[in-house]
C-alpha cells in the first residue's frame, strides 16, 4: 500500500495570544509540535504497511520550519516525507489547503490511502481531510475510531458519531480522518531519531505539483478571518465549600436545586 499521511505543525499549546496591533497570533516563543491527532494517523499508516507492505509518505504544507514536524514523522516511522513550501501557498484556508494537498497526492501518484488527523488543534476545523477526498473524488470516512479489517482492495472501519458508531466498508483509494482511540503511537527508536535529524527534506513548489495558483494561498481562499479576539473572561467569583463532606454536599444540592428542577 502506498499511504500518504498529512501532518501539520501546530503550536504546542492552545493558550495563544494575539498581537494587539497586527491582530495576528504571536508565534514567537511558542513551541511547535506535530498536531497530536496526526501521530495517530501516522501510526495507523505504519501499522498498515507493516501488515501489507508498501510505504508511508508524510506530507505537510507549511513554512520552512515545518521541516521539524516532518523529521518527527520520520522518527515515528514515515518512510519518506515531502514539504510543500511556496510563497503562493501562504494564507490558505481549508479549501485552498485541501486543494494543494490533493495536487501533491496526485503528483506522488498511485496513492492507495490518505490518512489525516481528525482535526488540527490550531484551527480546529476538521475540514481538510474531507476536502482532500472531495478534490480527489475519492470516498472518505471521517472520525474513524477503529480499523476492523484491511486488504489491498479495501478497509472496514468504524466511525464515531455523537450517538454511537457506524461500520463502513470503503474501497481504495480513499481518505480517512482518525481519532486517538484508533491506536497507541509507538515511541520512536533512538536510531530513527538520530537519522531523522540528518535526513534531507524534499521541498515541492506550487508549480511542481501543477497547482492552479488561483486556488491556493490567500488568493485562492474563499474565507477570510476579519477579526480575532480573546473570549470574554468568565464573569464570576468562585464559591468555595471547604467544610465537612455532609455540609458541603447539602450546600451544593441547594445550589443545584436553585438552578435546575430535580
Amino acid at each position: 500500500m502506498k499511504i500518504v499521511v498529512c501532518v501539520k505543525q501546530v503550536p504546542g499549546t492552545t493558550n495563544v495570544s494575539i498581537d494587539p496591533e497586527t491582530k495576528r497570533l504571536i508565534r514567537e516563543g511558542v513551541e511547535i509540535v506535530m498536531n497530536p491527532f496526526d501521530a495517530y494517523a501516522l501510526e495507523e499508516g505504519v501499522l498498515l504497511c507493516e501488515k501489507h507492505g508498501g510505504e508511508v509518505i508524510a506530507l505537510s504544507m507549511g513554512p520552512k520550519h515545518a521541516e521539524l514536524t516532518l523529521r518527527e514523522a520520520l522518527a515515528y516511522g514515515a518512510d519518506r516525507v515531502i514539504l510543500l513550501n511556496d510563497r503562493a501557498l501562504g494564507g490558505s484556508d481549508t479549501f485552498a489547503t485541501s486543494y494543494t494537498l490533493s495536487q501533491a497526492i496526485r503528483k506522488i501518484g498511485d496513492v492507495d490511502l490518505v490518512i489525516c488527523g481528525k482535526q488540527a488543534i490550531d484551527g480546529d476545523t476538521a475540514q481538510v481531510g474531507p476536502g482532500i477526498a472531495a478534490h480527489l473524488g475519492w470516498p472518505q470516512a471521517a472520525y474513524v475510531s477503529g480499523l476492523i479489517k484491511s486488504d489491498d482492495s479495501g478497509l472496514t472501519v468504524e466511525r464515531m458519531h455523537e450517538a454511537g458508531n457506524d461500520t463502513c466498508v470503503i474501497k481504495l483509494p480513499a481518505v480517512l480522518t482518525v481519532l486517538k482511540d484508533i491506536n497507541t503511537p509507538r515511541m520512536p527508536a533512538l536510531k530513527r531519531r538520530l537519522s531523522s535529524g540528518k535526513a534531507e527534506i524534499p521541498v515541492w513548489s506550487a508549480s511542481f505539483i501543477k497547482a492552479d495558483t488561483a486556488k491556493t494561498g490567500l488568493n485562492g481562499s474563499p474565507t477570510r478571518v476579519v477579526t480575532t479576539r480573546k473570549p470574554a473572561a468568565r464573569d464570576k467569583h468562585t464559591i468555595v465549600l471547604n467544610g465537612n463532606a455532609a455540609g458541603s454536599a447539602s450546600k451544593l444540592v441547594k445550589i443545584l436545586r436553585s438552578r435546575i428542577k430535580l
Binding site: 495563544v16 497570533l25 475540514q127 470516498p139 470516512a141 478571518v225
Partner: protein, 341 residues
C-alpha cells in the same frame, strides 16, 4: 461558485438548513438552525430570502410537514433508499447538485460529526468556503454578508470569518447556540421533491451497520448536565458512583483523558481537546485537575462545579462552585440528598 460581478450575486438567495436525523428522529440542532435561518433571512432585506429546509433520507418525503412548524418556507425532500444509511459521498453529491441548481445565499448544518464530514465535501464540490463549528451567525449591515463567529485554538481565540466572493456562504453551527423556535402548528409551505441520480448512487463506500445510543444513558452533546470523572475517581468502580450521580441528575457521564487512558471508561466519554467539546448548563468535574487540554473542551459550560481534594487545582479557579474535599465522601452524600428528594 464564484461571484464574478455584483449582478450575478442577485441570483443567490434563500437560507438553507440541512436537516439531520439520528436513529430516525430529527436532531434538535435542526430546529435551532431553522430559527437562526429565519432571523438571518429577515435581515437579508433586499433579497426576499426564504428559509429552505433540505431533508435527505429514506422516508424523507413523509417528514416535510414538521419543518413548516419551525419557520421553514420551503422543504426540499430527497427520498431514496440509497440515503438510508449515512453515506457521505451520496449525500454530498446530491446536496452539491441541488445547491448548483437553486443557488442558496447561505447553507448551514449542525456541527455534528455528520455535518462536519459532509459539509467540507459539499463546499469543495461547489467551490466555496466553509466555516467550521460556529458559535455565532449574523448579517453584516451594509454588505449583507454573513458574519461567522467561531472559537479556535481550543476556545482561546474567537474569530469572525467572512466569505465575500463565493456562494453559498456555508457554516456548520454548534448545537445549543441558537434557541429552537416555538413551533407554530399552523405553519405550511411549499414542498419540492427531488431525486437521487443513478450516477450518484454508485459509490465506493457502504455503511454496513449503524448503531445509535449503544452507550446507554444520555449522550454528551445533548445533556444539560454532565458529571465528569478524572484520575481522582481511581478506577471503574469509582465511575459507577459518577454514573449514579449523573443518573440522579438526569445527566450524562464525562471523563478526562487520564481516566480514559487508564481504561476505566470508553473514549466516547472523553471531554477535551482530543475528545468532545461540550457546553451543558451544569458541568460537575470530580477528581479532575483541569489541565488546559481538558478545560478547552468544557470551559463554555453554563455553570461549573468542581470537587477536588486539592484547593489549588486549576479547575477550582475556573469553577463557579469549588468543593474542597474527598470525592468518595462528598458524592455519596450528594446522591443521598438527591434521592431523599
Amino acid at each position: 461558485m464564484i461571484l464574478r460581478d455584483s449582478e450575478n450575486s442577485g441570483t443567490f438567495k434563500d437560507v438553507w438548513v440541512l436537516a439531520e436525523f439520528a436513529g430516525g428522529k430529527v436532531h434538535k440542532v435542526t430546529y435551532e438552525l431553522l430559527g437562526a435561518a429565519k432571523k438571518l433571512s429577515d435581515k437579508l432585506l433586499r433579497k426576499k430570502s426564504r428559509v429552505v429546509c433540505l431533508v435527505l433520507g429514506e422516508g424523507a418525503g413523509t417528514k416535510a410537514e414538521k419543518f413548516f412548524h419551525y419557520c421553514a418556507d420551503v422543504v426540499i425532500t430527497v427520498d431514496d433508499s440509497s440515503l438510508k444509511t449515512f453515506n457521505d459521498t451520496v449525500y454530498a453529491s446530491v446536496i452539491s447538485r441541488l445547491v448548483k441548481k437553486y443557488k442558496p445565499e447561505i447553507l448551514i448544518s449542525g456541527a455534528t460529526s455528520r455535518g462536519r464530514s459532509i459539509m467540507p465535501r459539499v463546499a469543495v464540490l461547489v467551490e466555496t468556503g466553509l466555516t467550521a463549528d460556529c458559535t455565532g451567525l449574523n448579517i453584516e449591515e451594509g454588505t449583507g454578508l454573513l458574519l461567522q463567529t467561531r472559537p479556535a485554538y481550543g476556545g482561546n481565540i474567537i474569530a469572525t470569518i467572512k466569505c465575500e466572493h463565493h456562494r453559498p456562504q456555508m457554516s456548520t453551527v454548534r448545537q445549543g447556540v441558537f434557541k429552537a423556535p416555538v413551533p407554530d402548528n399552523s405553519g405550511t409551505g411549499e414542498v419540492i421533491e427531488e431525486i437521487v441520480l443513478e450516477a450518484e448512487k454508485k459509490t465506493r463506500i457502504s455503511v454496513i451497520e449503524e448503531s445509535f445510543g449503544e452507550d446507554k444513558g444520555i449522550n454528551l452533546s445533548d445533556a444539560d448536565i454532565i458529571v465528569t470523572g478524572g484520575r481522582g475517581v481511581k478506577g471503574p468502580k469509582g465511575f459507577d458512583m459518577i454514573a449514579e450521580l449523573a443518573q440522579a441528575l438526569k445527566g450524562a457521564v464525562g471523563a478526562s483523558r487520564a481516566a480514559v487512558d487508564s481504561g476505566w471508561i470508553s473514549y466516547t466519554h472523553q471531554v477535551g481537546q482530543t475528545g468532545r467539546t461540550v457546553q451543558p448548563k451544569i458541568y460537575i468535574a470530580c477528581g479532575v485537575s483541569g489541565q488546559i487540554q481538558h478545560l478547552t473542551g468544557m470551559q463554555s459550560s453554563g455553570f461549573i462545579i468542581a470537587i477536588n481534594k486539592d484547593a489549588e487545582a486549576p479547575i477550582m479557579k475556573l469553577a463557579d462552585v469549588a468543593v474542597v474535599g474527598d470525592l468518595f465522601e462528598v458524592i455519596p452524600e450528594i446522591i443521598k440528598l438527591l434521592k431523599s428528594g
